[in-house]
Structures are given as C-alpha cells and as structure tokens.
C-alpha cells in the first residue's frame, strides 16, 4: 500500500470540497484518506453481480404530497440568523 496517494489527487479533491489546506495538513489528513480508500478496495472481493444497489433502507415508491400552499412562519427567524443582513437581503462580498 502506498503511504499516501498522489498529492495532486488530494488537491483536486480539496478544491471540490471547498476547503483550503496547508501542504502539511494535506499530508496529515491525506494519510488517513489514503488508508481508508485502500481499505475500501476490499469490497472488490464481494461478488455483487446481479445485485441492485441499495440507495435507501426503504424505498417503497416515490412519495408525493398535494401541491398546496402551506403557511410557514419561519422565514423571519431564519433570516435573523444571517451574519450580515440589509432589510431582507443577506449581504455577501463582491460578486462581480
């Protein structure tokens, strides 16, 4: 087993995860990621030919509900939790 996977692969993954790492951090956490990915390889031993993937413990059928308006009183309380607010708009840095 390789000690740690290609550091470039980890950098691409970190970019997708929107987390910044110092090279030292990426080496430290990358070691466990590598160890786990190698461990996942073990699943190759299981013969899964003809088995359907289980996506949820139970999927009976697609669940639908009536398309009706139901009142919610949560909006104001939810907005109040925003770090920066102007009227009912959440402020973020320059978009353009």
């Amino acid at each position: 087993m390789k000690h740690i996977m290609d550091i470039r692969e980890l950098e691409i993954t970190a970019e997708l995860a929107q987390i910044a790492f110092t090279p030292a951090e990426l080496e430290r956490l990358g070691r466990e990621v590598t160890q786990m990915v190698s461990y996942f390889e073990k699943m190759k031993e299981v013969d899964t030919d003809g088995l359907e993937p289980t996506t949820h413990a139970f999927v009976k059928a697609n669940r639908v509900r009536p398309d009706t308006v139901t009142p919610s009183t949560l909006a104001d309380a939810a907005l109040e939790r925003a770090p920066e607010l102007e009227d009912r708009f959440i402020v973020i840095p320059n978009v353009l």
């Binding site: 929107q18 987390i19 990915v37 139970f58 009976k60 109040e80 925003a82 973020i92």
Partner: protein, 464 residues
C-alpha cells in the same frame, strides 16, 4: 421502572436541589453544551399530558437536533453561537407528551466520531471513570443519562452513535428502524443511514419514549409508519459462529450473557454473516459520500461562521469551511468527495451500495434462522482520552457490529450486560425492521436476571 419515573416526577418540586445535583455532575463530566432547567417549552397539543409516561420528566437532546431558542452547534465552530429557530418533530412530540428538554448534549462534531473528543466546543468524560471517554458520537447524551442528570436523552445513530456510547456508559441505547422516527430537525450527516434514537436508564422508558417519537411526518419524506408483524415471543437468538477480536473483559461478559440467556429459556443458534468484514468499508464509503454532499450547505452565507474578510463569495465559502470544520470532518469530506468524483463512483459508491444489498440479504437469511441477532456492541469498553492504542482508523474498524443496522435499516438496542474492571459492557440485539418489540422483550428479560448497575455517585433524591 414505575419507581424510577416517580422519583423523576419530583423534578419540578425539587428544582433547586435537582439543579445543584445536575451541576455538580456537570463539573465532572461535561455532558452538556448548554443547560437550562428553567426552559419553558411550548406544547402544540391541547390534550392533557397527565397520563403520559414521560409527563414531567426532564430530558437531554443531542446538539445536532433542533430545539427552538436553544443553541444548535453540532459541536462545531462552524455553528457556535447559532440558536435554532424551530423544534425537531421528535422533540416536539415529547414536549406535547409533557416532557421538558433541559439541555443540549455534547457530540463529536456533526456526529463524526466514537469518543466525543472530536467536539470543538467541550470535553465530555465518562461518569464511570472521568479519565475515559463517554463514547460517541452521542457521548453527552449517554453520559448525562448514566450520571442521572436526566432519565433519558435523544441521540442520533448513523453508524452506532447511540448504541456505542450507551455501551460505554452502561445505559440503554435504541437505534430504531430507519424512517420510523422523523429526521425533521436533525442536522443531516448521512441521510440514508441515520435515525434519531433514545438513550435511557430503563427498558420501559426507552420503549415509552420510542412509542411517543415514532410516526410518519409530513416534514420528512422518508418517514414511515411502523408496521410490525403479529406479536410472538422471541425463542431463538442468533450469534456469530466465529467471533474474534474482542477485548478480554468484553469477551467474558459476552460468554456469561449467552449462558444467562440460555438459562432464561432462549435457544442460542450459531449463524454466519460472511459480509460482516465488508460492512465497515461499505458504511464509510456511503457515509462520507453523503456527508460531503450534506455538509456542502455550511458555507458561511446564511448562518454560521463568517470570515472577517473575503475577496468574493467563493473566497468567503472556502475561508468559512477551512476555519469552521475540525480535522475529522475535513477528512471525511475529503474522503466523500474523492469516492464521488467522476470516474471513481462505480468503483466505490455504487459498489458500496451493492455490498449493502448483499449485507441485507445475509440478514434476511439470519432472521429466517433466528428471531433476533446478538453480538457485543463494541469490541472494547470505554477507552481513555487521548489513548493511542486505538487510532482514528482503528476506531472506525471497531464500528463493525453497529454499522450493519444502519446499512440494512434494521433496529438495534444496546443493553447493559455487566461490568468489566468496573466499566460497563453493552450487548447489542438486532431484529428485522419494525420489530423493536423483540429487542425490548429480550432486554427486559435479561434485566430481570442481571439488573443494570448504577454508576457510582448517582442518586435520585438530589440531596447529594
């Protein structure tokens, strides 16, 4: 059981001494991230709660489950200081039945861990030995029940996070059938695996709380009505043919307990579970994949940690996540993002979902041979804080007995089976979906023969 609840009902009459008792324990174990015994919940029910088995009882809520006006931190710097604008369905049902949430309990950050040491906001100790961990991720909920700060608490179980801390702290821990308890108000970690569960001091109370919180909920599209088959007594208990890798103390209690169960009249049958050695791989593939998607919502924009300065929205998101998440959470997000990357999906994620099907088939066969399945909950008793004998990777491998129930959706209960060197050992009993009744039946009978031990220093008269 009746006695236990009657003592607790004096909670409101003796609130001053109760608070003193709870705070004295709190200084030793740090079970709560927030504690407010004066909290006045709002019931949405007009029916009187007098006859409810939980009327008047205080309870703890894991801090990844919403209770309005209480903090909702998930043990993370990302959400430190956030209060919840609403209440989870499971909590509301308990409030409507007359119970009172008194605090939010510590956990591994976002439920990721087996020790509660991954909390960014507090340290929780095991009430049986404060140099040891309470287990995790619902460590605070297990510790506060074991210490008698509350008679029961809610936790969440994604891969064993209710059952393993229950085992470490010597209390009951129920992971219900997937979907039977609404997840509305539970901060999502791995949606296809997790469920809100119960930690309690007795089988009767565990069952009573489960009966109250279960039920279909319009706010959770995956919630289901529990539809158990016709009730019949449990006769056959399936156990693993070749069980290895247990700590000596756990092994002893396990063997003694099998003898006890035989004396109680149960037939113990040996069964095979060939997929067990792949369960941890399948579990962590699916759990981290779902976590990487679920935790994408924490971006510092609508709530939570926001960096002092950011150039643009992308910079803001990256800075918030980099500063807000701890190492274990970052590791799991990296892992989950990796297995979901284009080109790798079939190799890992889809393969894991097929292994999940194979595990389910194994259990379908086992439940033709036996009414329930029994194993230790965890291979060891509570380990010490900072113990280096179990690395983070080894802790994950040790989840092998608990993760199967999350992959299959089946219910599981950890019950206290005895002490090894003064530390609690829990055994786990699993049943087919909706058959929680079988779990309670076995645990109840076992408790008649081997009553669960009380943690030294616990009391119900709060006079200290």
């Amino acid at each position: 059981m009746a006695k236990l609840e009657d003592s607790w009902r004096r909670f409101s009459e003796k609130s001053a001494s109760y608070t003193a008792y709870a705070k004295a324990w709190e200084a030793k174990i740090g079970a709560f991230l927030s504690f407010n015994p004066q909290y006045k919940p709002t019931s949405t029910s007009s029916a009187p709660s007098g006859d409810s088995p939980v009327a008047g009882l205080p309870f703890g809520v894991k801090d990844n489950i919403a209770v309005v006006e209480f903090p909702l931190t998930c043990g993370s710097k990302m959400l430190e200081g956030l209060t919840s604008p609403y209440t989870a369905t499971a909590v509301q049902k308990l409030i409507d039945a007359g119970a009172r949430p008194v605090g939010k309990t510590n956990l591994d950050e976002f439920g990721m861990g087996s020790s509660t040491d991954n909390s960014a906001l507090g340290k929780t100790n095991n009430p049986w030995d404060v140099t040891r961990v309470a287990g995790g991720s619902s460590g605070g909920s297990a510790a506060c029940v074991a210490a008698g700060q509350v008679p029961f608490a809610l936790g969440s179980d994604t891969g064993g996070s209710v059952r393993q801390p229950a085992s470490f702290c010597g209390v009951y821990g129920l992971k219900p059938t997937y979907g039977t308890v609404s997840r509305f108000g539970l901060t999502a970690y791995a949606s296809s695996l997790e469920v809100i569960g119960v930690l309690a001091k007795s089988v009767g109370l565990t069952r009573a709380v489960y009966d109250i919180i279960k039920g279909e909920d319009g706010n959770d599209q995956t919630s289901l009505k529990s539809e158990p088959g016709p009730a019949r007594p449990v006769r056959k208990i399936g156990v693993l043919k070749n069980l290895t890798g247990l700590a000596p103390g756990v092994e002893t209690i396990y063997r003694e307990s099998l003898a006890t169960l035989k004396k109680l009249g149960y037939t113990v049958v040996e069964v095979e579970l060939p997929t067990l050695e792949y369960a941890v791989s399948a579990y962590y593939t699916i759990a981290t994949a779902e976590a990487s998607a679920n935790l994408a919502r924490f971006n510092g924009i609508r709530y939570g940690l926001r960096p002092e300065y950011a150039e643009n929205p992308e910079d803001l998101i990256r800075k918030a996540r980099t500063a807000g998440f701890g190492d274990e959470v970052k590791t799991r997000i990296l892992l989950g993002s990796y297995v979901l990357r284009s080109g790798f999906q079939d190799q890992y994620y889809t393969k894991a979902q097929k292994v999940r099907t194979a595990i389910r088939r194994d259990f379908d066969r086992i439940f033709e041979e036996a009414d329930v399945f029994l194993s230790p909950t965890f291979p060891t008793t509570a380990f010490a804080h900072g113990d280096t004998t179990m690395t983070s990777f080894q802790q994950k491998l040790a989840d092998k007995f608990t993760v199967t129930a999350n992959l299959t959706g089946q219910p599981g209960l950890s019950f206290p089976a005895g002490l090894a060197d003064g530390l609690p050992v829990g055994l786990q009993v699993l049943a087919p979906v909706f058959e929680e009744g079988r779990l309670f039946e076995v645990a109840d009978r076992f408790a008649e023969a081997v009553p669960p031990a009380d943690c030294p220093g616990t009391s119900l008269d709060w006079s200290l």
